[in-house]
């Protein structure tokens, strides 16, 4: 394998830096969908200016001696290194990091940023990902030094504001989920899932049961089965019925006393709320199993219905989905979990408690927040039954992604209980409206709804008929959407739908945007009926066109060769 080949064939001295000033902002990517109906590039037209730019990495720029950082003087009496750090422990050659000035560094990364599509620029209906607007207020409050420069080992009397944020967010999430106890620690949804499966395991083992099976529907996110394996349990797949819900007969057949838990998303990845959820809960509880709710689709139900009321024992939240933490190009996320009373003793430590302090001489009652890492320090100790008293332990360092908590707490304060409900209601309305619009424009003739007639906050259409009738695949449609200035939906997921497109329009998108997106889909189908090769070779107006993914996988080049 060659990981280090420099395919530019150039040395660092003659690297083409490019003329930034010549490139208008608008020329970089197609304009946001619906805002600029300029004609799209035909297959043979020339590329836009930035495409002529050869991609060069920061390691190919700069020259010997250039630098951005200037170290302050040590300011202390210096000692020969050999006297305090023996040579055999030291590095002999420096890491070959870039040699660039600050202006070069800024230009490089600003130019790179322009080669990204982003949510602030355009519609991003990526199903299962909840690409809703990220309020800028959150970035401001997250950056306040009192939050952002707070050390995680700060003594608790000096971190009461942070603990109050965490306690408040826990209470809010408990209310949204309908489950009494929350642990904020997991770093992302999949981390929350891992916590959840380990919690279910601990719960059963404490009862002397060694249950091995985890039921997962065949529509499940890939993280579900992957998590089960990491938690040392065994995946048992449950089929989907013709309405898109769990196949109850198959569930009954597979539910036995070896079932540790079932992992469900509701609404599921088809955007369908399983009407049999109470029966599912009763079947699984009937065999002594635990119900786990994958909260990836929570944006459909906030304030409308609650996983706890449906019978779930454990829920994870994706704070980067329903609660507006910006996705950051793939993180950071945060994946808190909420649990029922019977699971609570096992939650990860530390746990936060609110202690009421005795009022001093007529003063108002005060309270203090406390972070408890050792279950022995809880009231009643390890046998007291308090959350964390029989903790499974820690899942990561410190308390979790606090910077995310601050942003999400601000979001919930902004919306309030009724605002959260309104957000979910409009998310559902937007999805159903888009579905109706696709029907009105005839799009669903070629891209039919995979299951049912209505949806919750997202829906799945199948590109199967389009592929047969018009000769373009879902992938082609997705790539052609890029030329229209839209980010495509999630494609080829869920796996059980042929040529699937999973579309989630979210509540922060305006009706006009949904109309424009529907029109773009209709236009691509019209165009394909005349000439399918246009979509088959799309996109044309992006910084690069279709990339050779097979070549990348065969001979992986995953880092830059450095002279």
């Amino acid at each position: 394998m060659s990981t280090t080949e420099n395919t530019t064939g150039r040395g660092t001295k003659d690297v083409h830096i490019g003329d930034d000033s010549a490139i208008a902002r608008e020329a970089v990517l197609p304009a946001a969908g619906g805002s600029d109906p300029r004609p799209l590039a035909a297959p043979t037209t020339s590329v836009n200016p930035i495409q002529r730019d050869h991609a060069t990495t920061i390691f190919e720029k700069g020259v010997e001696g250039r630098r951005a950082f200037v170290a302050p003087a040590t300011g202390v009496p210096e000692v020969a290194l050999d006297e305090i750090l023996p040579a055999k422990l030291r590095r002999t050659t420096p890491a070959r990091l870039p040699q660039v000035t600050e202006p070069e560094l800024v230009r490089h990364y600003v130019r790179l940023s322009r080669r990204n599509f982003d949510l602030d620029t355009g519609f991003y209906p990526l199903g299962s990902c909840t690409m809703k607007y990220n309020p800028r207020l959150h970035e401001r409050v997250g950056a306040l030094p009192g939050h952002s420069r707070l050390h995680p080992f700060q003594t608790q009397d000096h971190a009461q504001g942070a603990l109050e944020v965490m306690y408040g967010l826990e209470r809010q999430l408990a209310e949204v989920s309908g489950l009494p106890h929350v642990c904020l620690q997991p770093s992302a949804g999949s981390h929350g899932e891992l916590a959840g499966v380990l919690l279910a395991r601990a719960y059963h083992e404490a009862r002397g049961e060694n249950r091995r099976k985890v039921l997962t529907p065949d529509t499940a996110h890939g993280t579900n089965p992957a998590t089960v394996t990491m938690a040392g349990l065994e995946v048992v797949k449950v089929a989907t019925n013709p309405d898109g819900g769990v196949d109850i007969d198959d569930l009954r057949a597979k539910a036995d006393d070896d079932v540790a838990l079932i992992m469900l998303t509701n609404p599921n990845t088809l955007g369908i709320f399983d009407p049999n959820i109470e029966e599912i809960a009763s079947i699984v509880h009937g065999v002594g199993g635990v119900l786990y709710y994958d909260g990836a689709n929570l944006n459909a139900i906030m304030g409308i219905t609650r996983p706890g009321d449906m019978g779930f024992d454990i829920v994870h939240f994706n704070l980067h989905k329903s609660f507006t933490q910006p996705h950051g190009g793939g993180g950071p996320g945060s994946g808190p979990i909420a649990v029922s009373d019977r699971i609570a003793p096992y939650v990860p430590v530390p746990v936060i408690r609110r202690e009421e302090l005795a009022p001093a001489n007529g003063a108002a009652a005060e309270h203090r927040f406390e972070l408890i890492s050792d279950p022995a320090d809880l009231p009643g100790g390890v046998d007291g039954g308090e959350p964390g008293s029989r903790s499974i332990g820690k899942l990561r360092g410190f308390q979790g992604n606090y910077g995310v908590f601050v942003r999400c707490y601000a979001y919930i304060l902004s919306l309030g209980g009724s605002g959260l409900k309104d957000a979910s209601e409009v998310a559902v309305l937007n999805a159903n409206y888009l579905l109706a619009k696709l029907e009105e424009l005839g799009v669903r003739e070629h891209l039919p709804l995979a299951f049912g007639t209505r949806c919750m906050h997202e829906f799945v259409i199948s590109g199967g008929p389009m592929k047969r009738d018009l000769g373009i695949k879902t992938l082609d449609l997705a790539k052609r959407l890029l030329d229209h200035g839209f980010h495509p939906p999630t494609v080829y997921f869920p796996l059980l739908v042929e040529e699937a497109l999973l579309i989630e329009p979210v509540e922060t998108e305006a009706r006009e945007t949904l109309d424009a997106f529907a029109e773009a889909l209709a236009e691509i189908l019209r165009e394909a009926a005349e000439d399918p090769t246009i979509a088959q070779n799309a996109p044309y107006s992006t910084p690069v066109r279709r990339l050779d993914e097979a070549g990348a996988a065969k001979k992986p080049r995953i880092r830059q060769a450095i002279a």
């Binding site: 395919t7 009192g146 949204v176 999949s190 996110h221 394996t229 209505r454 992986p556």
Partner: protein, 469 residues
């Protein structure tokens, strides 16, 4: 209608008409069983205006004592390094802040190239040929490496040095239940991993042998000796948890026979944030490429021959391999990793060693100065880079911390908080380039004063510490 929801009443009516229902309630009632519909409003107060939320989060921030408010010598895994201004600017750009994972490479070249550059920087730093595009953070990165080891050799023993961060050991113990592994902790001797005990603990059933460099007490380990010992007659994968800043001066893992190097990336351009978000880095020998967790960007060309980048080797990942995936990780820490690569570019080839040298010198000065204070001893005398441990025999260290904090300086971590019963009189002191000679001198003065005040039995400090720690 909230300020982020776009639909007006008129929009709603038009949209409901298009859908063919009279109300949103009807739309929901068609799909959700009546018994499950929440019959009351959520018990969360009504929403607030932007300025009110801004004020509330400001009020809460003001209740914390941050590194802005005191001179801090706290470390123990996260450090108060200076974050250059360009990082705020670049991370605030919509194009980096708001996209999803780059599933459509044609419109994600910026993010993908950042991943590629990040992987390159991590490989250079660690002298290991393959790196992924980040995992969550430090301790869980070690647990992810232990899972890789299990996939590679199918063994079930995890041997970990007591010099590894206690949060890391706790994380390993939690996840080992799922891996079907057992965790054995090897003690320290004179502040570093006891080589004889380590050699004895690592055997034919050992899957992973885990060390930390520098270790939790700040001591620099002889990693080569530990690697050699671990590989003698054992299939063990040697895993090192590194503080990346110290790799400006310390021998890199790839040159000391470490197989997988991971670590907490916070020190590379990320803020403290009360513990996160930051990122974990993950680099390995080439043989482990197809067992790596997480996303990896690779270089390729487009149909016109233009250089471009894609997510590659995705068959490792959960969305394809499902229950056989190398990890369940999906979302990682892309934005924090961007801060990391920008920071490394900003430090540059000469800057990283200069910064590391600065830390070594100031840390040496601080250690010597503090050790000269009456009542203070070194907990160990091993070489250190940026952090060192002290013993204060007979001193109530949490009370000392409270006293010094009352004078505007946070002296570091009372080791009783992480090693109760083992290092009850220990204090762990960390340096960054933000801590000057004058601040070090002030720390030494206050520590001396605190010890004297305890010896003379001054009561107000004692009373104040009741609710502290």
């Amino acid at each position: 209608m909230t300020r982020y929801t776009t639909a007006t009443d008129a929009d709603r009516e038009a949209m409901l008409a298009a859908v063919g229902v009279a109300s949103i309630d009807e739309l929901l009632a068609e799909q959700i069983p009546q018994a499950l519909l929440l019959d009351r409003p959520l018990d969360i107060p009504e929403g607030l205006s932007e300025q009110e939320v801004n004020a509330e989060l400001g009020r809460l921030a003001a209740k914390n004592t941050s590194a802005e408010d005191e001179v801090t010598f706290l470390g123990a895994g996260m450090y108060d390094h200076y974050v250059p201004s360009i990082i705020d600017m670049l991370l605030g750009r919509s194009e980096f802040l708001t996209p999803y994972t780059p599933y459509q490479p044609e419109v994600s070249q910026g993010g993908l190239q950042v991943m590629f550059e990040y992987q390159t920087a991590i490989s250079e730093l660690t002298a290991l040929p393959v790196s992924n595009a980040s995992v969550y953070e430090g301790p869980s990165a070690v647990a992810a490496a232990a899972y890789l080891a299990k996939l590679v050799n199918s063994k079930t023993g995890i041997v970990v040095s007591a010099g590894v961060h206690p949060h890391t050991i706790q994380t390993l113990e939690t996840l080992a239940v799922g891996y079907g592994s057992t965790v054995t902790v090897v003690p320290l001797k004179d502040g570093v991993t006891d080589l004889d005990a380590w050699s004895a603990a690592v055997d034919g059933d050992t899957s992973a042998a885990i060390l930390q460099q520098p270790n939790f007490l700040g001591a620099v380990e002889d990693v080569q000796a530990l690697s050699d010992a671990a590989k003698d007659d054992s299939p063990a994968v040697v895993i090192g948890a590194y503080d990346p800043i110290t790799l400006g001066v310390l021998a890199p893992p790839g040159e000391t026979d470490v197989d997988v190097a991971v670590g907490e990336g916070q020190t590379l351009g990320n803020r403290l944030d009360f513990g996160g978000p930051s990122f974990g880095f993950f680099a390995a020998r080439e043989a482990f490429l197809r067992r790596m967790p997480g996303r990896i960007a690779g270089e390729t060309v487009d149909v016109d021959g233009r250089r471009g980048f894609v997510l590659t080797l995705q068959t490792r990942e959960q969305h394809i391999r499902r229950e056989k995936a190398t990890s369940n990780i999906c979302t990682s820490q892309a934005l924090n990793a961007l801060a990391g690569v920008v920071y490394l570019g900003w430090l540059g080839r000469e800057g990283l060693p200069e910064l590391a040298n600065l830390l070594v010198q100031r840390t040496h000065y601080a250690r010597t100065t503090l050790a000269a204070v009456d009542g203070v001893e070194l907990l160990h005398d091993q070489p250190v880079v940026r952090e060192f441990a002290l013993r204060l025999p007979g001193v109530d260290v949490p009370q000392l911390v409270a006293y010094v904090q009352d004078h505007g300086v946070n002296p570091g971590l009372a080791l009783s908080r992480t090693h109760a019963g083992v290092h009850d009189d220990g204090l762990l002191v960390a340096l960054t380039e933000q801590r000057t000679k004058e601040q070090i001198d002030e720390l030494a003065r206050l520590v001396g004063e605190a010890i004297q005040s305890q010896r003379s039995g001054t009561t107000d400090a004692a009373a104040r510490t009741e609710v502290s720690a």
